[in-house]
């Protein structure tokens, strides 16, 4: 099979729990307005963080009480709650019905690849470590393991939706959610599943963020102005702002979607996944620019899309020193110089860097943009970074309506020198 001639895979369901809006409709409205979800965090102030702001979803407990039983909630930490809410929204959005708990039917053709970067750290820090250190092992109860095991989120969702295909959790740092969609795409293309719930989740926990603060890679200079703190592409970017939440996408073979008469949001036309091998400028914490460019060109080739056909980019763009290098990589990979790059936007400017959830959340944003023909504003970069200035015309400071948009490319790059790139196309029958 030649590149671009694979079995077609489409997106039929979207779900999101985000710092600037829970549910797809609220999230889309916030993206269009350029609405920040970054807020001051008491837990970070008390623990004497340098950066004391973060993106955290609000109103999650109320949503959980309305969605899950009391016994389920006792075994669901924040990571489980975010992932489950997003997955169930995606499931319903796809026109599927949540099975009854007492039904014995299993959906053998649907699986889940839901990733996380750091996992159940709130349970580890809040329960496992203190109770173990205090010699109170038996008081940990029965739910600690399922909340700290990496696969806990995908396992939880398989039980809620009776999924019988592959159910697993991937982890590749900040490219986790993006990689999850690529893995699901490959499974459906291989004919091993009809539908896969893919994406990522990350809890809001200062225990997760502490190590990054110690590395001094989080912005310490905007604590008094939380909504201005996440500044990708900006000359005054001082590091990333941690985020949290979950974005989940239901991807499906085109045949299955058509047979069900499902609404199709967009097509997942191709993907690329690779690693820079910690060589050629890459390391545990820096990307090898050659591998980044290869990842992008691999994804385009897989999708059968030429570089000049790319209408918009949703970058990784975290607001660290890697932003100028990333813009350079996009420019070289697409062979499009200053003034020629398509609009390139940073969802993280509004929600922060949600780590293992970033790819899932930003995939939902990307799919909404390609389906509805717009590019959301990239906020807080009025002062474009001098090394990015030649590409300034490609940065949307305001909402850009692009009714003719056909192709949007989304990438995620992570610690470990790992990369993942997705090519979304507007669906055409």
């Amino acid at each position: 099979m030649r590149a671009g001639e694979h079995k077609r895979v489409v997106i039929t369901g979207l779900g999101v729990i985000a710092p600037n809006g829970n549910g797809v409709a609220n999230f889309e409205a916030a993206l269009r307005k350029g609405q920040s979800g970054i807020k001051s965090q008491e837990s970070m102030i008390e623990a004497k963080f340098g950066c004391t702001v973060a993106g955290t979803p609000e109103g999650v407990d109320e949503l959980c009480d309305a969605t899950f039983g009391a016994d389920e909630l006792m075994a669901m930490n924040m990571n489980h709650r975010y992932a489950s809410l997003a997955a169930i929204e995606a499931w319903k959005d796809a026109g599927l019905v949540r099975p009854a708990h007492d039904s014995e039917e299993v959906d053998w053709q649907t699986g889940a690849i839901l990733g996380t970067g750091i996992g159940g750290m709130d349970t580890i820090a809040g329960k496992v470590v203190p109770l173990t250190n205090a010699g109170k092992i038996r008081r940990m109860g029965s739910t600690a393991v399922e909340q700290v095991m990496a696969s806990g989120i995908s396992a939880r969702i398989s039980g809620q939706l009776a999924l019988g295909n592959q159910v697993t959790t991937n982890s590749s740092a900040c490219s986790t959610g993006t990689e999850a969609l690529s893995m699901g795409l490959e499974r459906i293309r291989a004919g091993l599943a009809d539908r896969m719930l893919c994406g990522g989740a990350e809890a809001a926990s200062h225990y997760i963020w502490a190590g990054f603060d110690s590395m001094r890679v989080m912005n310490r200079g905007s604590n008094e102005a939380p909504e201005k703190a996440s500044r990708p592409l900006s000359a005054s970017a001082g590091g990333f702002i941690p985020g949290s939440g979950s974005g989940v996408v239901l991807i499906e073979s085109l045949e299955s979607a058509l047979e069900r008469g499902a609404h199709i949001h967009a097509e997942l036309a191709g993907s690329g996944v690779n690693c820079g091998g910690h060589r050629m400028g890459g390391s545990m914490t820096s990307p090898n620019p050659t591998s980044v460019q290869r990842c992008i060109t691999d994804a385009l080739a897989d999708a059968g899309v030429r570089p000049e056909e790319v209408d918009a980019i949703n970058g990784h763009l975290t607001a660290t020193g890697a932003d100028p290098k990333e813009i350079g990589s996009w420019s070289r990979a697409l062979g499009r110089g200053p003034g020629e790059l398509p609009p390139i936007t940073a969802t993280k400017s509004m929600i922060g860097h949600a780590l293992g959830a970033a790819g899932g959340l930003e995939a939902v944003a990307s799919i909404l943009m390609v389906e509805k023909g717009f590019v959301h504003p990239s906020i807080n970069c009025e002062d474009v970074h001098p090394e990015i200035e030649p590409h300034a015309s490609s940065i949307p400071h305001e909402l850009r309506e692009m009714p003719d948009m056909k192709v949007l490319v989304k990438a995620g790059f992570g610690f470990g020198d790992v990369n993942a790139c997705l090519v979304f196309k507007r669906y055409e029958s």
Binding site: A70, D71, M74, H101, R138, R139, G141, S142, T143
Partner: protein, 81 residues
């Protein structure tokens, strides 16, 4: 504490884990916690922790092994108050 009050509190503690609400509605001393109320056996350790917290008692692992019915739990707890 009256046995009826212990029973009331035991049932209230068990409620979030009960899968068969019909059985809960007609709960009695002889109601089996796992077979009738359909409480997941893995969650029994959480139920015992909740008993300990609510009644401010300690329940040994070997005592837990003897608890099958709601009445077993009520009698075990009553004996420790």
């Amino acid at each position: 504490m009256e046995q009826s009050e212990v029973m009331e509190r035991v049932v209230k503690i068990l409620t979030p884990w009960v899968k068969d609400e019909g059985a809960l509605a007609k709960v009695a001393m002889e109601t089996n916690i796992l077979e009738d109320l359909k409480v997941n056996s893995a969650r029994l350790v959480d139920v015992v922790i909740a008993f300990e917290d609510d009644f401010d008692i300690e329940i040994a692992d070997e005592d837990v092994d003897q608890v099958n019915t709601v009445g077993d739990a009520v009698n075990l707890i009553s004996g420790k108050l």
